[in-house]
Symmetry: C2
Subunit: 665 residues, 2 copies
Amino acid sequence: MVGMSGAYGGHSNGGESRAPKAAVVVGAPPPEMEMEMAGAMGVVHKVAAQPAQSTASKMKGKVKETFFPDDPFRSFKGQPLRAQWVMAARYLFPVLEWLPGYSLSLFKSDLVAGLTIASLAIPQGISYAKLANLPPIIGLYSSFVPPLVYAVLGSSRDLAVGPVSIASLIMGSMLRQAVSPSAEPMLFLQLAFTSTFFAGLVQASLGILRLGFIIDFLSKATLVGFMAGAAIIVSLQQLKALLGIVHFTTQMGIVPVMASVFQHTNETILMGACFLVLLLTARHVSIRWPRFFWISACAPLASVIVSTLLVFLFKAQNHGISIIGSLKCGLNRPSWDKLLFDPTYLGLTMKTGLVTGIISLTEGVAVGRTFASLKDYQVDGNKEMMAIGLMNIVGSCTSCYVTTGAFSRSAVNHNAGCKTAMSNVVMALTVMVTLLFLMPLFVYTPNVVLGAIIIAAVIGLIDLPAAYNIWKMDKMDFLVCLCAFAGVIFISVQEGLAIAVGISIFRVLMQITRPRMMIQGNIKGTDIYRNLHQYKEAQRVPGFLILTVEAPINFANTNYLNERTKRWIEDESSSGNKQTELRVVILDLSAVPAIDTSGIAFLIDLKKSTEKHGLELVLVNPTGEVMEKIQRANDAHDHFRPDCLYLTTGEAIASLSGFAKMATP
Amino acid sequence: MVGMSGAYGGHSNGGESRAPKAAVVVGAPPPEMEMEMAGAMGVVHKVAAQPAQSTASKMKGKVKETFFPDDPFRSFKGQPLRAQWVMAARYLFPVLEWLPGYSLSLFKSDLVAGLTIASLAIPQGISYAKLANLPPIIGLYSSFVPPLVYAVLGSSRDLAVGPVSIASLIMGSMLRQAVSPSAEPMLFLQLAFTSTFFAGLVQASLGILRLGFIIDFLSKATLVGFMAGAAIIVSLQQLKALLGIVHFTTQMGIVPVMASVFQHTNETILMGACFLVLLLTARHVSIRWPRFFWISACAPLASVIVSTLLVFLFKAQNHGISIIGSLKCGLNRPSWDKLLFDPTYLGLTMKTGLVTGIISLTEGVAVGRTFASLKDYQVDGNKEMMAIGLMNIVGSCTSCYVTTGAFSRSAVNHNAGCKTAMSNVVMALTVMVTLLFLMPLFVYTPNVVLGAIIIAAVIGLIDLPAAYNIWKMDKMDFLVCLCAFAGVIFISVQEGLAIAVGISIFRVLMQITRPRMMIQGNIKGTDIYRNLHQYKEAQRVPGFLILTVEAPINFANTNYLNERTKRWIEDESSSGNKQTELRVVILDLSAVPAIDTSGIAFLIDLKKSTEKHGLELVLVNPTGEVMEKIQRANDAHDHFRPDCLYLTTGEAIASLSGFAKMATP
């Protein structure tokens, strides 16, 4: 009969249902049922307080949820010390997890995937370095050391590491504001390495301090807008190489870029257009038929080889086609002596490091998470940050600029069937061979084909379906997306990003400042109380005003809640006739996760002002933290006695409409 | 029987209660009850979507709630045009509301109150002007014009307008950083007027643009800490006058101030100490026995008179006691020609105007609200802002510096029995008489007594009980309070404030970033599901994992929710034996007021990953906006079919545990 008592105990329908209920009681229920009902109708469940906890232990819990939501060490518990050491080593160096069980069949897969991404990484490395206004060879250096570091430290199996377009663009454009890459190439290079060092430092710190949630503030909408804007800026910039324009504007705005484009034309345009069409076609084929992914993966390298051959055979460099020129053979040289901590440029490099660090981290972590969820394994965001950060710190000391996990290359890696981070090692070794022996082959590579490769790569960043989806889903999100897009295109990369993040946060704050407050009604024939606006079948309970708040009650919204509540009470009091006169205000706190001192002051104030109007204020279902603070407020003055705290709206109404008393004489 | 069907329809207890329920059905219920039960047990209430609304009308609703939460024009509706004009005039000039019905008896009350606050306003005006490094007469000017303006525009009946200590302190210390008040007194005065103009502009703009909620971000905790810190800084600064120290440090930090104090001693100290003790005793008496409030109200003026007489009689000015010196008779001179919009100082005056404007607005609006709630009338925050703003704009053109409603003076006004804003007029006229005829009397007023008046006034700003209350209530709030306090004392007034506001906002953001997520259980014998941690009597339902989220689901927390949910599911899946094996994950969305595109992506991702683990994901009670977006997500791919949306946890469990099917064969 336990179940029955619940059915009645939890139930009431305001005033209307008294008669039929009484009829049932008078009717012929089984004897034990009668007892239960009589008991249950009077039963009002107590609101429990959270078990007492010291401030320290509460703090500990909060810190744990904030910084260790994934509880990385939970598997350590109850293990012998030796096992804990092994686990710690595996935690720090994920390579230890997969290397001992590595097999030839796994290596075969990784070899194919590694060679495929290498064919993509070499032309992209050269291109992206040029995008960052750096010598092309830096792009190859950056595809050699960082992947090796990541293979040891990274926990993703699919991430293909190397330079990426957005970070290259941001670094190039931020540093160029202070130093000209053509006038002072050495200083520019030093600043690039120093910025990379700071980027790595920021990334590793975020990981070590477990502040990974900071990158969460770059919402999907922000990123979609930002990426599209950056892609357009990059593409327009690349028109320089593509159209063979020499004196191109270095400004980032869309207006000067367009003006510069229309001032020039050149014969190189034919070559650029051909290869761009080739690359875009390859991309289209790979999207249309995913099993031909290798077409777009190999297209850039094929373009480089074909175009280099063409230039070499026709001596096209003498006909106005600009070429890369001679590149020195040899591996990365140490560059820690090139890190420049001069106060003149410290601010610039730190800022550049912060922005590129966070942007590249966002891309890297998002890519890692995406493929982990596809293959159903876990990637620890904070550990990834440490890995990417260390990779960049090491990179900055070995002539590399900022690198991360690139989306396009990782997708190719995944499609090519990579199994472990060994594919990165294969890629790095391929790049090494290139660096040692094949550099002379790039002498005749025309710059125009690099521009085409960049444009073909960044076109993929313009995600129109995602933007359309955001528009359909949430107009405010779309506004954020649009602001990021417009900000990047018309103002600057950093400011566009800052504006979009600012709007996202402001929107969250507005949700707190103006929380939803709703009037609830009873869904006829049930014990359920729901929002009147949403549920047309819900009906007002005469004499009761049932309000819900759906936000933490704190300093930012108490004034609003106060005004809003009083207006409702006023409207109710003035409209009602004698019979339906408002008697009780029920405040359902189910959806209030937290309350602060201002919030408690609001509740006390509301209690007093309702009493002044001859109304009763009742609180329903305060959650643990809220209940705790209500009790503490009671310690001083007994504002909220147990008889104005109820577990459910139904019980509150049953009890207050005098129903319980009538049923249990 | 409507009530009955609800009792059963809304009910279920997971698996445990099947047997007893079946027994009841088999038992001897009245015939109509059997039918109802059979029907009701199968009934599952549909989750309704919000009625369709265009984006424009939704936007309109949001804008209305954001900017017009008090709906100021609702009484206008349905009125004839003439009445609307009258109401609009009354809205803009609240004086029209009370002046037509003003009577002699009301005036008697206002006269007493006005004279009382004038006796407080005159010495405080002189003192606070000195606190702002301005000539003392500016303080009297500021107690003449602004109260008259406020009497016409203000809607509070208790607010006593004039200079206040905190705003004076902030203005003095911010402007002194750029210009020395002793070296360039004229420039300093110009900057003060210009800052006042900007303060008024900021205040009026906040009111007109209805951005009043911005001052809500100064939480109670912030203000308590800030006020206490400022009071200590002010008191220490006043030791200069009190101890008769001439070469005092102008720095605001506690360390240089203390160092300066201990370097000097002087005979003036005796006089200062005596009057300080007198004033503090008067204050104590008034707090202890509220009906003697007039003692502390008149004490400052009495001190000024007595000390002036003492100096005059004993020629004490020749014995090293510094006096105010001669003040010119006459009313405020126009000062609009003194407003300085020179680019050199524009940044400084705008910043000073912004900070003093917001701080003084916060005090004014809070005071107005406090007394309005005591006397049970409404004060419109945005209208108050316009009134205070206009008052300061007019003030800046008539030789006044920044003014607002002062807490101490308004309390005296209230206690003295003021009825309308007429008491401000009486006060202004009294000040006018003083300015016209009584200025020579202040020649011998010693500066030391002004210092004592300031200290006695600001001591009241250190609200230890409030701080203790905050400590007891909420440790994080106390931290905010402490940061504001320490920031003001050890760094600077503006930065201390900025730090405290920053922490408050960060805390709100953290609540979103790490929302509370709870496992619910069934309270035995009822249909109620509550947090397991809070309700010890709640029990897990075998096979079900019932999770609640208590925050909007958005970009800032989807990663966290994802990790947290997956960890719980993993823990559950690994621990369960065959019988209690996890089958269904119920996500209760009752407390989720909003969701964005990232949030929807999280739900879809969770749905897919639970399916991959052979689990069913069920959503319970999505609110209007959330339901709307779920439906829109369904338009593209049918992720959430109606059979995984339930109105209550009870119905979801009843339906999914196969109970409904068993009961209705």
